[in-house]
């Protein structure tokens, strides 16, 4: 590619679309870890030692029997492998794509200890689940109808896992979701190159193959229905509403055009029919240290932003994003600045710069070093965490989230919660799936009592 002239492509000022040619955009947003072909899967599966009481299983929030599914792949029975996966995690397809395996199963793999190179569990899981889904049909059958009705609020990972398990056990489930499409963060969050090709919707459609699940889109709790109505009309309610609110920076100039939540940018990008038409800044600053920060920064770069900088208040070892994800960002040309907090967004009208203060870890938390610096920016993405949206005030909270006991029991009888909106857990897709599934089993036990 020819170097861009000043004022064109990546160097065009302001927040504009079309920084890169269509082919470059297509290449940048293609599948980051394509599905193994049969041979690759066999070679990768051969490496599993079939450990006793395997550490990878213990490290998986959904406790998938990993050695068993890999053995099934190795013996040419990928559909059985997929069934082993889906038995524990019905969203095993998306989890194979988005799980930070490097801090979960693959970190625990004994071959990581032995050779520093774990069995590629995530990619093997994708191979198995993709194989089964491609063959068509649904692997599970529904139990005889119980006549019990359960409301699931939120069609994200926890809600879908909960709904599927309840439907499988014979209950009638209605899912209410505020957005036009199901999937939650699988559809509106997550970097596009991790689940390209409309995967989240395809997985959702496949999941409904169990039967007994009705979905109502565009219906929000608090706006279109109340918790009291839901409780009155159903035998149980599961809340998997996620975190609708975005934490504010609380700095001067935060209201300037160009300063916006990273999650909004990511959602817009996921829904864009033509990524080339999606505007992005020339100089982009992302504030935060989690997965959302990485996903926003990398994708801004892939859209053609010239300079992208992540600024995080603590050290890299404290970032929520894994080392693997940090390395991914660095390899794509994103700069990571640590030990700095934003002071103000500056600009005569449009955003031009952000001023930061260097900070260090002190006895009583972060303390300013007295040094400040500025980064030129025409776009700032806020990625310092999300919080609950408006919720019925009667629900007890803990640490800003819905308080739960055991498998997702809230302070209200007949109401369960799971996923990011519930207290505890790590706010991962896979954790949400586990919580939704476990809540479903508890709801089932309660309904059958």
């Amino acid at each position: 590619m020819k170097p861009s002239l000043a004022g064109e492509g990546p160097r065009a000022s302001g927040i504009v679309a079309g920084r890169l040619p269509a082919e470059a955009i297509a290449r940048n947003f293609s599948d980051i870890a394509p599905r193994f072909d049969d041979h690759e899967a066999m070679v990768a599966a051969d490496r599993c030692y079939f450990c006793h009481d395997a550490p990878c299983v213990a490290a998986c929030p959904t406790s998938i029997d990993i050695p068993m599914f890999i053995r099934e792949i190795a013996t040419g029975a990928a559909e059985s492998a997929a069934r082993t996966i889906f038995t524990q995690n019905i969203l095993g397809g998306i989890c194979a794509r988005v799980c930070p395996t490097e801090t979960l199963c693959e970190e625990a793999c004994v071959r990581e200890a032995a050779e520093g190179r774990p069995v590629e569990i995530g990619r093997l899981q994708r191979y198995a689940t993709d194989t089964l889904v491609a063959r068509g049909g649904h692997p599970f059958a529904r139990a005889a109808a119980t006549g019990r009705r359960v409301a699931v609020v939120g069609a994200g990972p926890s809600g879908l896992a909960c709904a599927h398990r309840l439907a499988m056990l014979g209950h009638d489930v209605t899912i209410y979701d505020a957005r036009p499409k199901a999937g939650g963060l699988n559809e509106y969050g997550i970097a596009a190159y991790k689940a390209p090709g409309g995967f989240a919707q395809a997985e959702f459609d496949w999941l409904l193959g169990i039967g007994g699940i009705e979905v109502r889109h565009g219906v929000a709790l608090g706006r279109d229905l109340t918790l009291e109505t839901l409780r009155a009309d159903h035998d149980a309610v599961f809340l998997g509403v996620g975190l609708a609110g975005v934490n504010a920076l609380g700095i001067e100039g935060e209201d300037k055009a160009g300063v916006r939540p990273a999650v909004e940018f990511i959602a817009e990008l996921r829904q864009a029919a033509d990524l080339g038409a999606l505007p992005v800044g020339r100089r982009v600053v992302v504030i935060g240290g989690g997965m959302t920060a990485i996903d926003a920064a990398v994708q801004a770069k892939l859209l053609g932003a010239e300079d992208v900088t992540i600024v995080y208040r603590r050290g890299r070892d404290r970032m929520g994003a894994s080392e693997y994800e940090q390395d991914l960002a660095l390899s794509r040309g994103v700069r990571i600045v640590t030990g700095a907090v934003p002071l103000r967004a500056i600009g005569d009208g449009a955003l031009a710069e952000v001023e930061f203060a260097h900070v260090r870890e002190g006895e009583a938390g972060l303390e300013a070093t007295g040094e400040t610096f500025r980064l030129a920016a025409d776009q700032v993405f806020k990625a310092i965490g999300q919080r609950l949206g408006p919720l019925p005030s009667r629900l007890a909270l803990a640490g800003g989230k819905i308080a739960v006991e055991g498998p997702g029991r809230t302070s209200l009888p007949g109401v369960w919660a799971g996923g990011d909106c519930a207290a505890g857990g790590e706010d991962l897709t896979v954790t949400a799936v586990a919580e939704g599934r476990d809540a479903a089993m508890d709801i089932h036990a309660a309904l059958c009592a």
């Binding site: 066999m42 070679v43 051969d46 490496r47 030692y49 079939f50 450990c51 006793h52 009481d53 395997a54 550490p55 004994v110 071959r111 200890a113 032995a114």
Partner: protein
């Protein structure tokens, strides 16, 4: 470097690595390239009488694979050479003329009558070949016609044919044995009784490698049908080693020349065969899997090992392990060992635990933090944990010193040797004198 020159029943070669009679030695083109790669000798693919035989026109090989599709066992239904006798003889002569320092042995298989053998031996002698190998081993196809293993399974036939050959040629005669027999010592004794200069073994093991579960045909499948083949490759090496050792330590055949064959893939395999009494070794599957160049690793590795051990020539290693092959009844029952797990090397896979707990003696404890420890009061030193551990050297067997108490039996380990022949539980025990 150690002297690898080999003199096997007067057949000289620059190293002990010969290509066995098989597809790699079927024609001049292959054998010339094998010699260029460094092979010390070849046993030319088995010749028969004209009209030459024919082969199937579908797959000839079946396989068994290990991890990463490593070829562990190969099975074949190929017959002896399917080219005219004259063609083979002409090529043998040409190659031997150009490679006088390499061993050129010619494998033969003709019907079980003296006239047939009497007619072919002078033709081979005329090529300048160094010796003949009588193929009494192939278990498939030719055996249905009364040749190959059909001869090798009847010691009287072996002795008879060996005697005919010795009477009709000045060349050394090697008899190639089939493993498809109950006790390998009987055919070996017969061969030497008939005057054979040496035996070579093993030929292939009768086998069906697998079944196609869609068509329900054995593999390799010829138009939906399969026939048993001959199995070779790394999988058969333990069978071959034992048979070589049995002949090497048999009172009647002890010290007689043996050419070792069966799954030799590396220098290490070759050294093991030689330690058990093989004066030369023959290789096929390794060459068929990786090509002729593997001989260079074998030459370098054997030389390095001999240098490290201070073994100057092949005679210093051939048969060195034979005195240590004994009957079970003579094994020292006062040798007491315990498994030891090196915690530094352990990768915490827990396979030793699963194996011991589920299928052996419940002698490994799984402690918090996935720490695996041997319970000396249960460990019988069976070695299964060593065998299933993926890390070489992580688990070892350590001998309890005489005078120590075995926590499993509560008994002090005696210093003296004691075996089954004198054990009180043995109804046949000899009283101490």
């Amino acid at each position: 470097m150690a002297d690898l020159r080999c003199d096997f029943v007067g057949i000289r070669s620059p190293n002990p690595f010969w290509l066995a009679s098989a597809p790699p030695t079927d024609k001049e083109y292959n054998v010339r390239r094998a010699f260029e790669a460094g092979w010390g000798g070849v046993v030319w693919k088995t010749l028969g009488l004209d009209p030459h035989i024919v082969n199937v026109n579908g797959p000839r090989y079946g396989a068994v694979w290990g991890a990463d599709r490593r070829l562990l066992g190969l099975n074949n239904i190929e017959l002896i050479t399917d080219r005219p006798l004259e063609t083979n003889l002409r090529e043998i002569k040409a190659v031997k003329r150009d490679w006088p320092d390499r061993a050129m042995v010619v494998s033969l298989m003709v019907p079980c009558d003296e006239a047939s053998w009497k007619s072919i031996l002078p033709l081979v002698e005329e090529t300048g070949a160094d010796g003949v190998e009588l193929n009494f081993g192939c278990p498939h196809g030719m055996s249905e016609r009364g040749m190959g293993s059909a001869v090798g399974q009847v010691p009287e036939y072996i002795e008879m044919v060996a005697r005919w050959c010795k009477a009709n040629t000045r060349m050394p005669v090697i008899v190639k044995l089939t493993p498809n027999i109950t006790d390998i010592r009987f055919p070996a004794r017969a061969a030497f009784r008939g005057g054979a200069d040496a035996v070579s073994l093993i030929n292939t093991v009768s086998s069906i490698t697998s079944v196609d579960l869609d068509t329900f045909s054995p593999l390799p499948s010829i138009d939906g049908k399969g026939s048993h083949g001959g199995y070779c490759g790394p999988a058969v090496k333990p069978i071959a080693l034992n048979m070589v050792a049995e002949i090497a330590r048999d009172a009647e055949t002890r010290g007689r020349p043996i050419s070792g064959i069966g799954g030799i893939t590396t220098w290490r395999d070759a050294a093991e065969f030689m330690a058990l009494g093989a004066g030369s070794v023959q290789v096929c599957t390794a060459a068929m899997t990786y090509g002729f160049r593997v001989v260079q690793e074998m030459i370098a590795g054997l030389g390095l090992w001999m240098d490290r051990g201070g073994h100057a020539k092949l005679a210093d290693i051939v048969g060195r392990a034979v005195p240590n092959v004994t009957d079970w009844q003579y094994l020292n029952l006062n040798y007491v060992a315990k498994a030891r797990i090196d915690q530094e090397l352990c990768i915490k896979c827990g396979r030793c635990f699963a194996a011991c707990e589920d299928t052996s003696h419940q002698a490994i404890a799984m402690l918090p933090g996935r720490v695996f420890e041997v319970k000396d009061d249960e460990c019988v030193a069976c070695n299964l944990c060593v065998n299933v551990c993926p890390v070489e050297g992580c688990i070892t067997m350590e001998r309890l010193a005489p005078g120590a108490t075995d926590p499993r039996t509560g008994r002090v380990v005696p210093a003296e040797h004691a075996n089954w022949t004198t054990h009180p539980n043995n109804p046949m025990a000899k009283a101490a004198e």
